[in-house]
């Protein structure tokens, strides 16, 4: 079942748009601490890629992607975000309080790592998982109700 049958679009999306967009998504996620961006925006960008893939008729692709069960991804993302909330409680800090590490990594130099980054990563995973779940439950099942010519199946 395809919604848009076009070799160029297919090629364009699958060959490089999805890869570039995935990189952009990661970039947006990690710059989120001091600049516009963050987990939600990054997750939406990557989610958008999945939607595009779905629209170009790569729906079976969805089933064979590395993440078989988006529910798991959702759980992992939630756990990560909630973990950043709860862990500070064990070290006598306020919930959600963030900590900044500045480790020296040999080649790159000093890197600033904030614990709230894990929160952002969690949100990122949750958003991607939700988009995938929507595509799976609405898209895949929905498309089976629609005939190949786009008309309704009675």
């Amino acid at each position: 079942m395809t919604f848009i049958r076009s070799a160029i679009l297919d090629e364009l999306v699958d060959r490089w748009l999805s890869k570039v967009a995935a990189l952009v998504a990661l970039y947006v996620t990690f710059r989120g601490h001091n600049a516009p961006g963050g987990g939600f925006a990054g997750g939406l960008v990557l989610g958008g890629v999945f939607v595009l893939q779905f629209l170009t008729g790569r729906e079976p692709h969805l089933r064979h992607r590395p993440i078989r069960r988006p529910t798991m991804l959702l759980g992992a993302g939630l756990l990560m975000a909630l973990g950043t909330t709860a862990v500070p409680l064990f070290v006598d800090a306020a919930p959600l309080e963030s900590h900044i590490w500045k480790p020296d990594i040999p080649v790159i130099g000093e890197v600033k790592v904030v614990s709230s980054m894990f929160f952002d990563l969690g949100v990122f995973m949750v958003v991607v998982a939700v988009v995938l779940m929507m595509l799976l439950s609405l898209g895949a099942r929905g498309s089976s109700l629609v005939g190949d010519d786009g008309g309704e199946v009675s």
């Binding site: 939600f40 939700v130 609405l138 109700l145």
Partner: protein, 131 residues
């Protein structure tokens, strides 16, 4: 708060409210989206002064970042709400094969009883009693 934003908020509110009152669920979903944007815009417009951004490292004065944070949260919540309404619309369509919200059954029963009880000429104004 600039006038153009204010007018835009007004327009979005009226469009959103109108769509929300439709019977078709797809339009209701669109209405939810539009209304959400209207509220978010209202918060940004009312909560901060124009020409100032809450971003560290920019020249000029910093505005209060709180409205932006509120709106960001509200956008995320709006996203979730919208997707739920869409799922509901889809489910409704796959069951009933149409996009309309039906009347409540018990309400119709009560209305019918009220009509039976009123033996005088004034018929209750429920158009859909006789169905």
């Amino acid at each position: 708060m600039s006038l153009s934003l204010l007018i835009l908020v007004g327009v979005l509110f009226s469009v959103g409210t109108y769509l929300l009152m439709e019977r078709s669920l797809t339009r209701v979903a669109l209405g939810v989206g539009v209304l959400g944007n209207a509220v978010n815009l209202l918060i940004v417009a009312a909560g901060s002064r124009p020409d100032e951004a809450p971003i560290i490292g920019r020249s000029g004065e910093l505005t209060d970042p709180l409205p932006q944070a509120l709106v960001l949260t509200a956008i995320v919540i709006g996203f979730a709400l919208l997707s739920f309404v869409l799922a509901l619309a889809w489910r409704n369509w796959s069951i009933t094969e149409n996009d309309e919200v039906e009347d409540d059954l018990e309400d119709r029963i009560v209305a019918r009883r009220a009509e039976k009880n009123s033996k005088r000429g004034d018929v209750p104004h429920h158009e859909d009693v006789e169905q």
